[in-house]
């Protein structure tokens, strides 16, 4: 099983393509400038990434116009997006795709996602822990649902949803079932978000028309787990970039006649961070490769470890850049905001450890 912890050649090629695109189209200066515009998501970049490189249809089978790839390839894309804190709805789209793939009769939706015609998102709070936290806030008529219902009506409110602002299609969990709702039929209000590069929104449904996709939430838990697995790779990429940026800076910044990176007070912390990032790479790879019962354990480990490492890397990046790192015009804050936000997404590290305790039979009392 240990080969799965490495990157394959096709994965390296995909990474290079995404890195080239982001290098050309998403330098941090543009990412920062966009945060204060009316369009926090970069639609052109998403088009180039989603359909140009094919990231939108990575998981979609080839016969539906996708790449027929796995979470491993998606994770490589996420690593690069984390390095650039790129404002594209890749993660949300991935979650929706993973969910639709698990449901019967969703080929048409998947085709449209792969072709770039539609972008989808799951209407669920970004902080939702997989396998937990189903606070029902949307009600449906008619109820109980019956197979084949295409004209249900949904009313309610979902707060703090990631990647739903640029979505056309929303998959809404409501009263124990999953519905497809056109984004045009709901009211979305952008939230002033801690992460300025992944702006959340609140969704208001007022008698919105919906099509029943599935009764029950079991597929939802799997999709959330898959998304959380890929998020660990985004966190890995973010941490790598923060470390690289900081190492570069402390080599050139001189105080007391020496590069500040020559002081053990900084050197040792950077070395410790590097050790943790090397570990993050192994656990993130495992999380997107594991199957069966192992997957939930692997994802809980990856989320507990990688979200902690990403936050540490971003915090050290700010601190070791000193004065400049605390300013708006240095990119460190973009990474800090992304890192801290992702550490709350899909549950905090502590909640993942609690979940892990159940999975490996180490009960709290």
């Amino acid at each position: 099983m240990s080969e799965e912890l490495l990157y394959s050649e096709p994965e390296d090629e995909l990474r290079a393509a995404v890195a080239d695109l982001l290098g050309a189209r998403a330098p941090w200066t543009e990412v920062l400038a966009r945060t204060e515009t009316a369009e926090p998501y970069d639609a052109d970049l998403w088009k180039a990434l989603g359909t140009g490189i094919g990231a939108a249809g990575l998981l979609v089978p080839e016969e539906l116009g996708g790449a027929g790839a796995s979470l491993r390839e998606a994770a490589v894309v996420a690593e690069e997006l984390g390095k650039a804190v790129a404002p594209v709805p890749f993660l949300g789209s991935l979650g929706a795709t993973a969910l639709l793939l698990a449901l019967p009769g969703c080929d048409a939706w998947l085709r449209r996602i792969a072709s770039g015609e539609q972008t989808a998102a799951v209407a669920i709070p970004f902080s939702t822990l997989p396998g937990n936290g189903r606070r029902n806030t949307v009600s449906v008529t008619p109820w109980p649902p019956k197979e084949g219902i295409t004209d249900a009506r949904l009313t309610g409110r979902v707060t703090g949803v990631a990647d739903a602002l640029p979505a056309d299609l929303l998959i809404v969990p409501a009263d124990g079932s999953l519905y497809a709702v056109q984004a045009a039929d709901v009211t979305r209000t952008a939230v002033t978000s801690l992460d300025m590069t992944r702006v959340l929104c609140d969704i208001e449904l007022d008698d919105a028309p919906g099509e029943l996709l599935a009764i029950g939430y079991s597929a939802l838990d799997d999709a959330l787990t898959a998304t959380a697995a890929v998020l660990a790779s985004e966190q890995l990429g973010l941490a790598e970039r923060c470390l690289a940026m900081t190492v570069e800076y402390v080599k050139t910044r001189h105080q007391f006649g020496r590069a500040v990176g020559s002081y053990q007070g900084l050197k040792h912390r950077l070395a410790q961070l590097w050790v943790q990032i090397a570990q993050a790479r192994a656990v993130a790879r495992h999380a997107v490769s594991a199957t069966g019962d192992e997957r939930a354990i692997a994802v809980a480990v990856a989320q507990a470890h990688c979200s902690t490492v990403a936050v540490l890397a971003a915090e050290e990046c700010v601190q070791m850049h000193g004065g400049i790192g605390f300013t708006w015009e240095h990119p460190a804050h973009l990474y800090l905001k992304r890192a801290k936000s992702t550490s709350l997404a899909f549950g905090t590290a502590a909640r993942h450890r609690a979940r892990l305790a159940e999975l490996v039979a180490l009960p709290p009392s």
Binding site: M1, S2, E3, L5, L6, V247, V250, K251, R258, A259, G261, S262, Q264, K267, H268, L270, A271, Q272, W274, V275, A278, Q279, A280, R281, A282, V283, R285, H286, V301, A304, H305, A350, R353, A354, L356, A357, V360, A361, L362, P363, P364, S365
Partner: protein
């Protein structure tokens, strides 16, 4: 003969070897010698010296095949210093006669090796060492004191670094030897540790004669030779394929599962944090092995020992806290002379105390962080006030 590159070829070769040397009917030492002579000992060594210049990644295939056949092994833990440190150095710097003389009995476990590097005045700063070797005809006469020497009381040979020229800066005046531990003037005294036992020794060298034929590398080139030894030590530490919950975390998890009375709610998140850390370290070791097997050696190996030391100390500390009153007891302070470290078989107090050595032995955690920072991240080196000063003029 065509090069054997695939696992399948190797397995066939081992199969043929086992057919010709039935493990159950062959004397263990004869078996090991035959395995060495067939080039099936350390596969990456050259032909004629126990190997076939194969990739290192194939070694586990051979070990599994021999173990499955019930073949005797060379007790690798007992001869770890020879296998991991002396042998690669002899291979890199030894003459043909030296390789011929030392490598076969080393691998077969006939001769145990120890390492005479550290001194009371030269720990992290190994290059400051003061053990003098003075040329006298065809011999060198060695006088000094070495310390933290595992297995010295059982060793037949030692790898030894000495000061041969005190008038040049410290890195330039060293020479590397192989020392006969049975020679007159070698005195080994146990060095008792905080655990009560004595894994290590002090070794006093008083006018010990070492033939010049036992020198490894050129006179004055000892630092470079020693670097080879130390680099191999770090390679040996990284990697591995331990199952989940192996080692200290397994002991803790077992206690938590089987003894509900130790479950302290406030300690639960700490336990899980360490469980995650242990799993992350385990997967990193697996990834490192995969990299080595795929011929992409990474710098992760230098991190493995650092992570292991930190984790062991945190786990063993938590174990005592979990056990409460029981943690106040210790199993045995009697002076013992163990061959290997046994974390599992001893008491929690022993584990706590012995783990303290993990961040000191084989390079302190602080030195390892320097190495990662400088060699991996490319950060500036420490300011070295002693770089251009003759060794004899250094403050000590």
């Amino acid at each position: 003969m065509p090069p054997l590159t695939t696992q399948h070829d190797l397995e066939n070769q081992i199969h043929d070897f086992l057919a010709a040397h039935d493990p159950s009917a062959t004397d263990p030492l004869d078996f090991l010698r035959a395995r060495f002579d067939a080039g099936l000992a350390w596969l990456h060594y050259p032909p004629g010296l126990g190997g076939q210049s194969l990739p290192r990644g194939l070694q586990p295939v051979a070990e599994q095949a021999f173990a499955a056949a019930g073949a005797p092994d060379n007790n690798p833990r007992r001869i770890g210093i020879g296998l991991g440190m002396a042998a690669p150095t002899i291979l890199a710097f030894g003459t043909d006669e030296q390789k011929e003389r030392w490598l076969r009995p080393l691998w077969c476990g006939e001769e145990v090796w120890c390492q005479l590097f550290s001194e009371p005045g030269a720990g992290s700063d190994l290059a400051a060492l003061a053990t003098r070797a003075v040329r006298d005809g065809d011999d060198w006469v060695v006088t000094g004191q070495k310390v933290w020497t595992s297995m010295a009381h059982e060793a037949r040979w030692a790898i030894l670094v000495t000061r041969t020229d005190p008038d040049v800066p410290k890195h330039q005046g060293m020479t590397y030897f192989v020392l006969d531990m049975t020679a007159p003037g070698v005195e080994v005294r146990p060095l008792r540790q905080i655990t009560g036992e004595a894994e290590f020794n002090e070794v006093f060298l008083t006018g010990v004669r070492v033939p010049d034929a036992h020198r490894l590398g050129a006179v004055g080139d000892g630092w470079r030779v020693a670097q080879t030894t130390l680099m191999n030590e770090r390679v040996a530490i990284g990697g591995g394929a331990a199952p989940r919950e192996a080692g200290m975390i397994g002991i803790l998890a077992e206690a938590w599962r089987t003894r509900p009375e130790v479950r302290e709610p406030a300690l639960h998140d700490r336990l899980m944090t360490l469980w995650v850390a242990a799993e992350a370290a385990r997967l990193t070791g697996l990834r490192l092995s995969a990299q080595l097997a795929a011929g992409q050696p990474g710098p992760e190996g230098s991190a493995a020992k650092y992570a292991f030391a930190t984790l062991n100390q945190q786990l063993s500390g938590l174990e005592l806290e979990l056990l409460g009153e029981e943690g106040l007891r210790y199993d045995d302070w009697t002076m013992r002379r163990p061959d290997t470290v046994d974390f599992v078989g001893r008491s929690p107090g022993y584990r706590y105390l012995r783990a303290k050595g993990n961040s000191i032995e084989g390079g302190t955690s602080e030195i390892l962080l320097n190495i990662i920072a400088e060699r991996v991240l490319g950060l500036p080196g420490e300011i070295r006030a002693d770089k251009d000063v003759a060794w004899k003029d250094l403050p000590r």
